[in-house]
Symmetry: D2
Subunit: 90 residues, 4 copies
């Protein structure tokens, strides 16, 4: 079981950041400032995804690939490919 302490801490900061963006919108902040803050949140979320993927590669993926179950190996590799393809789209 992987514990994502760094990722969790970052997500809580991002959650607060997003709350701040909601207040900006409620107070009619300048459009471009809002968009820039949203882009900063997205960059921070990309970092969290990378941290979680790192932990995943070094735990579940190693276990699956070293295991005997060919279907499970195939499954974890397909998942990695899926998150990579999705990463090129968001």
């Amino acid at each position: 079981m992987v514990k994502h302490e760094d990722a969790l801490r970052r997500l809580k900061v991002i959650h607060g950041h997003l709350g701040g963006i909601i207040r900006m919108v409620e107070e009619n902040a300048y459009c471009v400032d809002i968009i820039r803050q949203i882009q900063a949140v997205e960059a921070a979320l990309n970092k969290v995804s990378a941290i979680i993927l790192d932990e995943h590669l070094n735990s579940c993926v190693i276990t699956a690939i070293q295991g005997e179950d060919a279907d499970e190996r195939e499954r974890v590799l397909t998942e990695i490919l899926d998150v990579f393809e999705m990463a090129t789209k968001v």
Copy 2:
């Protein structure tokens, strides 16, 4: 002054979604499921940015470009370019 009602509503949903992701991490959900939810949040944030940019183009940008102030015109166009370049990076 632009009111972003649709964007605001979406941001509140995304804020709740992100709260759910934090709980997933706290409860040690499967890594790939967490990453997929983060990517869903990013796609939703992209949509909010597009909505706000649309409103910005149809208000401030038109006003600035039709105005007499060349510096202000230059400023709003440079901002649009900046958010476009940043969009290709996050």
Copy 3:
């Protein structure tokens, strides 16, 4: 009419770069090295898009927005929004 000399020069360099990637694949280069070169080409293409958008904003967009034709104004602004939304997806 806008002349894109800088963009053209960059595109020709990228075209050569892509030819080099094709040779890498033909010669069975290491997969990760190929992917990194593809990502370098994509970053270079993003820069070209930004250069062309900059020229577009400072010519056609200003002309359209200062013009009398409301449909034309709407059209150029919708186009900018479209390329922004697409930029968040590729």
Copy 4:
């Protein structure tokens, strides 16, 4: 050794597509049409990267992770993380 026949075929098509974009720029095509074609090339390149990553995961990565060399295992996993992080940026 992995043979990337599908990737190679796609790269050659993309190379031709990029040549067409260069001609569009030389002939002063409409800016937004050029940007849209560049974005189409980027989407096609993302697909090639995914195909090559798929082949990489199912060959080198499996070999490395099932092998005895811990440094090699670490190296291939770090590479995957690197291309993922880069994918979120281009």
